[in-house]
Amino acid sequence: MLVTQFIIRRLVFSIFLLFGVSVIVFALVNAVGNPIEILLAERPGISQQAIDQMTAYYGLDQPATTRYLMWAGNLLQGDFGTSIIYNQPVWQMMTSWGLETLKIQVPGILIALALATAMAVTAAMRQYSRVDFGVMASAMLGQSLPGFFVGILLILIFSYWLGIFPSYGAYSMRSPLWGSHLLDALWHMVLPVAMLTFFNTAALTLLMRSNLVDILRHDFVTAARASGLPERRIIYGHALRNALIPVLTYLSLLFGLMLGTAPVTETVFTWPGVGYLYINAIQQLDYPVILGVTMAIAVMLVVVTLLTDIAYVLIDPRIRLD
């Protein structure tokens, strides 16, 4: 099978998958009930007429299938609808808040990858030594601590006690720190990025170390040693590339699930990202936002999986496309 043929097949499959997801998500949100009624019921002063008007405005008086078709049709044209709470286009909100999410997630993953590589290589080169044991133990500890706990600990130490970094937000409310918007933004990123890096590093280190140890046992590594290749070059030239394949899957999951894990970090640091937006939308039954973000998560996962599969085929000559 040709690579393009493979990609087309996967694309068609992805479209069906997204269709299924959209039906399920829509049905779930729909099952909660009419958000206008629920929201406005808490305000006794509002007339039934106003409720009916808004219900009609958002198309909530139509049967569910009609509404699904309307929503899906709009979605296909790139129209995610309008937030009930903020009265802004959902797409616009997702992109601007999404940028804030990327701002901490991407560095959190990339820094972790670099750190984990260094740690895993160090550990694998001295298998079962004290260094190896130390790296493994701290990675396991890091992985078993709950996410919010580390975030709160960081805030406690670096904001509350030491007062070095801000504990919430992406920018200063009033004037930027040191009069520079860039420095201000970077300074705010430090703690959330640190928290994300912490978790990603722990998981990636464990994964890479076990892959490396596994590959270093292979005869082709011994063959490289027998030919006189220094250990460091064996690790970077032979072992690491082979060890990175399973890591790639994990990385793609990290990227794909970024929006799914963002709520914890962004709640802890009151970070104006999609995760924060999502949590708020759920609390306030802002259904166009809930639907939009959920679909965005699904699309990201599908795209990332597709890209990973393609990358696999390109990296590993043994993978057959059938």
Binding site: H218, D219, F220, T222, A223, A224, R225, A226, S227, G228, L229, H238, R241, N242, I315, D316, P317, R318
Partner: protein, 340 residues
């Protein structure tokens, strides 16, 4: 090589008292306790003359691969000395002189049992064959391609194989690549660790023929490890028989196959169990299990399975005694020497 050697007729590879012990420890509550050791290779000595082949045979787990890897310093020997053309091989490979180490590595190369595991699955054959050229800085990069083609030709592969990946080859072709990689640096000695054991019988013969041809053409010296006796007989000049980390007998291949003197050699080499002339009831099949490397029998290690074992065998370890024509034997009650 430069300068006259101290012994003109010296063998190319000389191994003296080679030993590899693996400590066995158990993790206690606070620290590890050493509870014993596995004597994987226990004080073995042998030599291989230039242009000849020494076959190393023995049951699985007797220490053949450990011997091979210790010689190449892929694992650190616990004791002993290895000389190549009179030069201290282990000392050179232990460093710190990297130039000397590389020069030594070029002279001795290793061929692995499983040619699939020994080739990087994500490298093309050309990449695999170029690696030694790069490590040893033997040729300018533009000349690598020609050398790769030349090596492929040497082992009976086609130029168009260069850009393929290991998974596109059959087992026999992969082993040809493994051999080509070893030859890339123009070695003098090849350590062949069961190079045909993973191959089909028909392919086995082709690879053995290839090895024989290469030896004749390039004047190579082989240490040929195998438990396939017919391959050993085909390729070897002399044969060393190993049992539980010890060499028990070394002799010329025909002598050993026709008239083994050590009871273990006899048992190992006899395809059909032959009645022992001295003890008519005993058959030369191997009795019982191989003892575990952890609980090595005292004195002669073979006494738990030996049909000729006596009290002295359980009390004293038989020393390795040199015999005629460079043979050697370690047994208190050897079988009769062949009639002259």
């Amino acid at each position: 090589m430069t300068g006259p050697l101290p012994f003109p007729a010296r063998d190319l590879l000389e191994v003296r008292g080679l030993q590899k012990l693996y400590p066995v420890s158990r993790r206690g509550m606070f620290r590890r306790h050493r509870i014993g050791e596995i004597r994987a290779v226990d004080d073995i000595s042998f030599s291989v003359a230039r242009g000849q082949t020494l076959g190393l045979v023995g049951e699985s787990g007797c220490g053949k691969s450990t011997t091979a890897r210790a010689i190449l310093h892929l694992i650190d020997a616990s004791g002993g000395e290895v000389r190549l053309g009179g030069q201290d091989l282990l000392q050179t490979l232990r460093g710190p002189d990297r130039k000397a180490e590389l020069a030594m590595r070029r002279r001795v190369q290793y061929v692995f049992q499983d040619p699939y595991l020994s080739l990087n699955p994500r490298w093309t054959i050309a990449q695999t064959l170029s690696e030694p050229l790069r490590v040893h800085d033997l040729l300018p990069r533009p000349a690598w391609r020609d050398r790769v083609i030349e090596l492929l030709d040497l082992v009976g592969l086609e130029p168009h194989h260069a850009d393929r990946y290991p998974h596109e080859f059959s087992g026999g072709q992969r082993q040809r690549v493994g051999i080509a990689r070893a030859l890339a640096v123009d070695p003098e000695l090849l350590i062949l660790d069961e190079p045909v054991s993973s191959l089909d019988v028909s392919v086995r013969a082709q690879i053995l023929n290839l090895l024989a041809r290469l030896q004749a053409e390039l004047g190579l010296t082989y240490l040929f490890i195998s438990h396939d006796l017919s391959s050993v007989r085909f390729l070897s000049t002399r044969v060393a028989v190993m049992y539980l980390g010890k060499i028990v007998e070394i002799a010329d291949v025909d002598r050993l196959f026709e008239a083994p003197r050590h009871p273990y050699s006899r048992a190992l080499l006899s395809a059909i169990p032959v009645p022992d002339p001295d003890r008519p009831s005993a058959r030369n099949t191997l009795l019982g299990e191989i003892p575990s490397a952890m609980n090595m029998p005292a004195a002669c290690r073979f006494h738990t399975r030996c049909p000729r074992a006596s009290a002295v065998c359980k009390a004293h370890e038989p020393p390795m005694e040199p015999g005629p024509q460079g043979s050697a034997l370690a047994c208190h009650h050897p079988l009769e020497p062949p009639a002259p």
